[in-house]
């Protein structure tokens, strides 16, 4: 192939790729802040997720979070890879579930629960959501409740047919006890013994209008 043809071919490919870049979402612009090696590694992991039918948004989100946190490339790739593994494990445990449920289950695994403990949630009633259970479960372990205690408490409540309000109530009670200085494990044991757990009469702290009681600093 002559040199002029090679140049022409390259020019055509460039022209074809320009509209593609123009249509990429804003997210890609931020991803461009990654060095080439890191970005390539992240894209490989994203491609793996695509090939396995796993959601890619959580992986990109972690990469973007790493950029904002000013983490180095190695840390970002490790975090994305870890999330991919967690998503894969969660999918193996739960089967085909939607992206939100899968990421929530991955968070439970990230917190320290075992994949076998997720099995309870595999065959759930139609229309019943396990999102709140997963969120409270991951939160309790992250706050210091022993993993086994948190897992058995959540799975027990789930098996007994607890609804979202019950899980929110448990979380509110345990969190307030921990803030008062109680040992996290003891706080959960105390609250889980309160049977039956009554759904709160008022809405939890996270209302559609916002978290008015948010405090910081």
């Amino acid at each position: 192939m002559s040199r002029s043809r090679v140049v022409g071919l390259a020019a055509l490919l460039l022209v074809v790729s320009l509209p593609l870049r123009a249509q990429e979402p804003e997210q890609q612009d931020r991803m461009a802040k990654l060095d080439i090696k890191t970005r390539g590694a992240v894209e490989l992991l994203v491609d793996s997720a695509v090939a396995e039918g796993l959601p890619t948004q959580p992986l990109r989100s972690i990469a973007l979070l790493g950029i904002t946190r000013k983490a180095d490339g190695r840390q970002i790739v490790a975090a994305v890879r870890r999330e991919l593994i967690l998503l894969r494990t969660a999918r193996t445990a739960l089967g085909r579930v939607d992206e939100t449920e899968l990421t929530a289950a991955a968070a439970v695994l990230e917190a320290g629960a075992k994949p076998t403990q997720l099995a309870t949630f595999k065959n759930k009633q139609r229309g019943r959501s396990d999102l709140q259970a997963f969120t409270v479960w991951a939160d309790l372990i992250t706050r210091g409740v022993p993993g086994e205690d948190a897992s058995s408490a959540i799975t027990r409540l789930w098996d007994e047919g607890a609804d979202d309000a019950t899980f929110v109530s448990l979380w509110n009670n345990v969190q307030s006890d921990i803030l008062r200085g109680l040992n996290p494990g003891t706080a959960l044991q105390n609250r889980i013994r309160e049977a039956p757990l009554r759904p709160p009469t008022t809405k939890g702290p996270q209302t559609p209008e916002g978290q008015e009681n948010a405090r910081s600093e």
Partner: protein
């Protein structure tokens, strides 16, 4: 080279070539009669011509260009219908789209985030809903109270977020559950949006 130098065979071939050809005087008439006796070809319908096989000749460079063009069209079509995360592209508001299943939450539902930070000069809300971009969602101070607020549209799902005070300090929402370590040494807050309300 002269004729005297040629090989006898070459000379024989040359003499044969020079010998005049005797043509049958009636040959032309017989050929024309045979041509006229052939049936007149009927016109082939257009659709039949489309179905007839063809042989195309194309250079390797041309083949590569054609392949690149087809791949480009495919990629552009894919990008136009979905973003990189595999989620369906959002449709403009004035376009009616029949949902494949009942929507669980409007993507436009606004959620208000509040934090008290009296000493802060600026506070931002970051989360997976704004690509963790500190510049995208600045919060507004409400008077002199130290209360910072912002309302953002959230779609149904599980969202991770945090507050960034003065561009450097990341703060969890004390009124929300937290997620495990995000891989960078911090735990973010979680907001669940289900069926148009948050949990």
């Amino acid at each position: 080279m002269t004729d005297s130098d040629q090989h006898p065979y070459v000379e024989w071939i040359a003499s044969e070539a020079r010998r005049p050809v005797l043509m049958d005087p009636g040959a032309r008439d017989r050929i024309m009669a045979a041509v006229r006796a052939e049936p007149v070809p009927t016109p082939v319908p257009a659709w039949r011509r489309l179905l007839q096989p063809r042989v195309f000749h194309m250079s390797p460079a041309g083949s590569a260009l054609l392949a690149a063009g087809l791949v480009g069209i495919g990629v552009l079509t894919g990008v136009a219908t979905s973003n990189r995360g595999g989620r369906a592209a959002e449709h403009p508001r004035d376009v009616a789209v029949l949902p494949s299943q009942p929507p669980v939450s409007s993507p436009d539902t606004m959620y208000k985030f509040v934090i008290v930070a009296p000493q802060a000069g600026k506070v931002s809300l970051v989360g997976d809903f704004n690509d963790w971009d500190v510049a995208k969602t600045p919060m507004t101070r409400a008077g002199q109270s130290g209360l910072w607020t912002v309302a953002v549209p959230l779609s149904a799902g599980r969202h991770l977020y945090a507050f960034v005070v003065d561009g450097t300090t990341w703060v969890q929402d004390p009124s929300a559950p937290i997620a495990p370590d995000d891989g960078f040494g911090h735990a973010n807050s979680v907001k669940l949006v289900v069926g148009g309300s948050s949990l």
